[in-house]
């Protein structure tokens, strides 16, 4: 029994690592550029790597560099970071419905690794997800983020311009790769993704909401509307 449990855990972990590789690839160009920008902003190598290790949130790390360069105060930078990253609250709540029950400290530990990307990979997996799987996804993604930030700083250059440009599609392609199988299976997901896409475009491009708020309000609105609509129809066509 003991050994089969260990084997199951390690294969879950390995599956997670494999699923995280797309994220690792996608993080590379972003983190390399972050390292480079941090250097030009005047941060030290240790500070740069420390930020990637402790904050681990791409958009807010970029924003903090911008604000530092503008001479913004620390309190304002921390507050902005909070506002940008508050959307993870919704993802964490959603993940709580999806993940297996486990010890609190383990959940508190893998919660640190929740990003737009790791959440997307974990939450679209069929069935319940195990703690080991989540750790697998988190570790490769986190490793890529931290190491690439350091390399970007040390090498002082990002990837060749054309490769950098084409690699900027990586995370979007991953999101599409995660979404399409679900689109083919459940009509409901077409509504969810389509509505959220439209709302997000309106919120960010027309109403000029900041990216974090636009995403969270578009997501929530689409999720509530679709749920209401499907409930009204008595849960028919759930598949």
């Amino acid at each position: 029994m003991e050994t089969t449990l260990v084997v199951r855990k390690s294969s879950q972990f390995r599956q997670g690592v494999q699923a995280g590789i797309s994220i690792a690839i996608g993080y590379m160009p972003i983190a390399l550029t972050f390292g480079l920008l941090a250097k030009t902003t005047g941060l030290g190598l240790l500070e740069t790597v420390l930020m990637s290790m402790v904050v681990y949130a791409g958009a807010s790390q970029y924003i903090s560099l911008n604000l530092l360069a503008l001479g913004t105060g620390i309190f304002e930078i921390v507050l902005t970071t909070f506002i940008v990253n508050i959307r993870h609250f919704l993802m964490s709540a959603s993940l709580n419905e999806k993940a297996e029950q486990d010890k609190l400290w383990k959940k508190a530990l893998y919660a640190f690794g929740i990003t737009d990307e790791t959440f997307s990979v974990v939450a679209t997996k069929e069935g319940t997800v195990t703690t080991s799987y989540i750790f697998g996804v988190n570790i490769v993604s986190y490793g890529s983020w931290v190491i690439s930030s350091g390399i970007g700083y040390v090498v002082g250059a990002s990837l060749p311009q054309s490769l950098q440009e084409s690699m900027s599609i990586a995370l979007y392609a991953m999101f599409i790769g995660l979404l399409v199988p679900a689109l083919k299976k459940h009509r409901k997901t077409i509504w969810l993704a389509g509505l959220a896409a439209i709302f997000n475009s309106v919120f960010s491009l027309v109403l000029k909401l900041s990216t974090g708020w636009a995403i969270v309000s578009a997501t929530l609105l689409a999720a509530v509307i679709v749920e209401f609509f499907y409930k009204e129809r008595g849960g028919v066509d759930n598949g």
Partner: protein, 101 residues
């Protein structure tokens, strides 16, 4: 290391960690009302829609860059390709595209 910068990093780390951690810890083992459960189960697919659009069309000044990336990822994913293959294909297609631009 500059003390203020380290302080800033710690502050950023804490305020980023809190929203990531709170729901998983506070709602641990809590059974949500069915409607809310449904909404939370909808969140991943809605998030994906919002993460893809409009961002993908804005990654390059040349909007065709995003459009071509979008279509190639969509087509290959539709034929059942693994996520990693979808990612690599999109990168290769756009590398070829930028060669000719």
């Amino acid at each position: 290391m500059d003390k203020m910068i380290v302080l800033m990093i710690l502050g950023m780390g804490i305020v980023t960690y809190i929203p990531r951690m709170l729901p998983l810890v506070v709602f641990n083992g809590v059974k949500m009302p069915p409607f809310l459960q449904g909404v939370l189960k909808n969140v991943p697919y809605a998030t994906l829609g919002a993460l893809i659009v409009p961002g993908i069309f804005l990654i390059n000044e040349d909007i065709w860059f995003g459009v071509i990336g979008f279509i190639s990822a969509l087509v290959i994913a539709w034929f059942g390709a693994n996520v990693i293959i979808v990612v690599l294909t999109a990168i290769v297609v756009l590398s070829v595209y930028s060669l000719f631009m």
